[in-house]
């Protein structure tokens, strides 16, 4: 009996002693539903390696996890302001552009992002708009508009949608939506205006079903929720899921007329990553026109890659929620990081919003 136990123990020790990164594995930390399985498999076949993915659904969540010790990822996909944060923390490894010939494919307007002048650390991957997705049939039945933030903030609309609305569980995003609705900039830090936004949110909160960063995708598709505040790529997925499952309604999504948040998400290399070589290969792979097109065709996100344009399906290229037309672009703002003191105030306000 004891001999068996001893042998088992030796086996286990042997298994544990194998170095963790023995084979070729690329560790990727990315938004959920932001990278299609097809794309990953094609890359794995090409590089003869494995891609290990972990997911997050909010920049704050990602930053918190990285801060809480999740080192070892090779690639992360932060939004612009989060790139700012990571740069300030000196957490990023500079790009080796010699290994990224396909960088030339990027559209001109994405080459000098304000958060990464000279594109030394971040390679743009996809763009999304934070907007409202809805069950078209239900909202038509209720005679509700579909193009305004008032839908999630005004009791006169919320009354008809009570318990059928979700909002993002994100400090920055929800505050930004409130700010836009009130006519202010998303970067506004005036305490009086923040207070106004807080009161707006607290007034609407009893009508919301829950705060959700990812469950709204399935809830919309199943029909439990009729209106959700979320990312355009997730709304696209909900739309496709509902179609595939032959639900008796359609999911649509629109950018509210008051304006919204535009997010540019980029690949960055973390200093703690073990395989920058694989990371560079992956980025170059994604920058190739046909692969980049997957981002739009399969994920429903906007595309910073010019070489992808001919491969993008027309119905997606023409979707204003995915590729905002110039008129919409003027009303879209990108989030910028706050200084630590402001961030803390916001954080405490967020706690109050959750608790009250």
């Amino acid at each position: 009996m004891l001999r068996v136990v001893r042998r088992l123990a030796l086996l286990l020790l042997g298994a544990l002693a194998t170095p963790a990164h023995a084979e070729d594995v690329l560790y990727l930390y990315i938004w959920n539903s932001y990278l299609s399985e097809d794309t990953v498999r094609r890359f794995e076949a090409q590089c003869q390696c494995r891609v290990n993915q972990d997911y997050y659904s909010d920049n704050e969540e990602m930053l918190a996890k990285l801060e809480a010790g999740a080192t070892g990822y090779d690639l992360v996909v932060p939004t612009g302001f989060a790139v700012e944060t990571l740069l300030r923390k000196a957490a990023l490894r500079p790009l080796d552009k010699a290994r990224l010939p396909n960088l030339a494919n990027l559209k001109a307007e994405f080459r000098e992002p304000w958060y990464d002048p000279g594109m030394r650390y971040a390679v743009p991957y996809a763009t999304t708009v934070t907007l409202l997705g809805y069950n078209a049939r239900r909202l038509a039945q209720l005679g509700l508009p579909t193009d305004t933030w008032a839908l999630i903030f005004e009791p006169r609309y919320l009354e008809k949608l009570k318990g059928k609305v979700t909002v993002l569980n994100s400090q920055r995003e929800l505050m930004a939506a409130a700010m836009k609705y009130l006519g202010y900039s998303v970067q506004e830090i005036d305490p009086a205006r923040w207070d106004e936004a807080k009161r707006l949110i607290l007034r609407a909160k009893p009508y919301w079903a829950t705060f959700s960063n990812s469950t709204y995708i399935k809830d919309l598709a199943i029909g439990n929720i009729w209106l959700a505040h979320g990312y355009s790529s997730d709304m696209y997925r909900a739309q496709q899921d509902a179609l595939e499952a032959k639900r008796p309604f359609a999911i649509e999504f629109r950018t509210p007329k008051e304006g919204a948040v535009l997010a540019v998400d980029s690949f960055v290399l973390l200093k703690g990553g073990q395989r920058p070589d694989l990371a560079h290969r992956f980025i170059d792979f994604i920058l190739d026109g046909t692969n980049a097109a997957d981002v739009s065709n399969l994920i429903g996100a906007g595309n910073p890659n010019a070489a992808a344009t001919p491969h993008i399906r027309p119905e997606i290229a023409g979707n204003p929620g995915i590729f905002p037309p110039p008129g919409d672009l003027r009303r879209l703002e990108m989030l910028r990081d706050f200084d630590p003191k402001t961030r803390r105030i916001l954080s405490r306000m967020w706690t109050e919003i959750k608790v009250r």
């Binding site: 286990l12 560790y27 959920n32 539903s33 010790g69 990812s214 399935k218 703690g272």
Partner: protein, 263 residues
């Protein structure tokens, strides 16, 4: 009169059994649902089980869970058996604090253990979260369970056996190996199985101390519940239920008293 009261009692009992089983029956049933969503029944299929076995992420998580559970259960059983013996035999001096140390992790809400270990790993050890951090966390909360089971088992033994062994000239290790261990072996094994189950099942503590690329099954299920709720989740739930069911049945058979005694 007694008969009617018993009838009512059993009606209530059956209702509670139904309450316990129906939701799970729904989960198992829908694992065969031929639809992308868990909204309504469409048709019968086993394709979700096929998807499950092709899902590398899931298989990796399962492998991690198994490896962690085996290692954590082994180490927790060793340490827990030692603790159980210490608590039963020596209660003076410094060792008076041992019951507190051993039993409090069992009584505390898991979130407190999770965040305090996160804090400890990051601030003091500057440890990269991963397999090791999860292992340590799982061992910490399992020791108490094993200790309780072993102590109960020891308490039921007749002490004269140990006296007899000593009188016959046996040293402590000999006494342990040839007298104590065989007698408490069912309890030790039950403790091992319980630690194993606890580890495979653990969500809260693992949630805080898991690191990069090390997903366990519960964490994987959690992220699937939030995002990709295809019936694949139902399939993995059904299989997991079958596994832990087998283990508990085994434990119940090995040491029925020890299992109840831990309460």
């Amino acid at each position: 009169m007694k008969g009617r009261a018993t009838a009512w009692l059993w009606a209530a009992a059956l209702a509670v059994y139904a309450f316990l089983y129906l939701p799970l029956a729904v989960v198992v049933l829908f694992s065969f649902n031929d639809s992308l969503l868990n909204a309504e029944w469409v048709g019968f299929t086993t394709r979700w089980y096929a998807t499950l076995f092709a899902d590398e992420q899931m298989l990796g998580a399962a492998a991690n869970s198994l490896l962690i559970a085996l290692t954590a259960a082994t180490l927790a059983t060793v340490l827990g058996t030692m603790a159980g013996m210490a608590m039963q035999r020596w209660r003076s001096g410094l060792l008076r604090c041992l019951p507190f140390l051993v039993l409090t992790p069992v009584a505390m809400p898991e979130i407190l253990l999770g965040v305090s270990l996160l804090l400890f790993f990051r601030q003091v050890l500057d440890l990269t979260l991963g397999l090791v951090s999860i292992l340590i966390a799982h061992i910490t909360f399992s020791i108490g369970f094993v200790a309780i089971v072993v102590r109960t088992s020891l308490a039921m033994l007749d002490e004269s056996i140990f006296e007899a062994a000593r009188d016959l000239g046996a040293g402590p290790w000999q006494t342990f190996r040839r007298v104590t261990l065989p007698l408490i072996l069912p309890a030790v094994l039950a403790g091992f199985l319980m630690s194993f189950t606890l580890s495979i099942d653990d969500f809260v503590i693992t949630f805080f101390v898991a690191g990069v690329g090390v997903t366990t099954l519960p964490l994987q299920i959690y992220s699937m519940i939030k995002v990709a709720v295809t019936p694949e989740v139902n399939a993995v739930s059904t299989l997991l239920m079958a596994l832990t069911l087998t283990l508990i049945a085994l434990a119940a058979r090995l040491a029925p008293d020890a299992l109840k005694g831990r309460m």
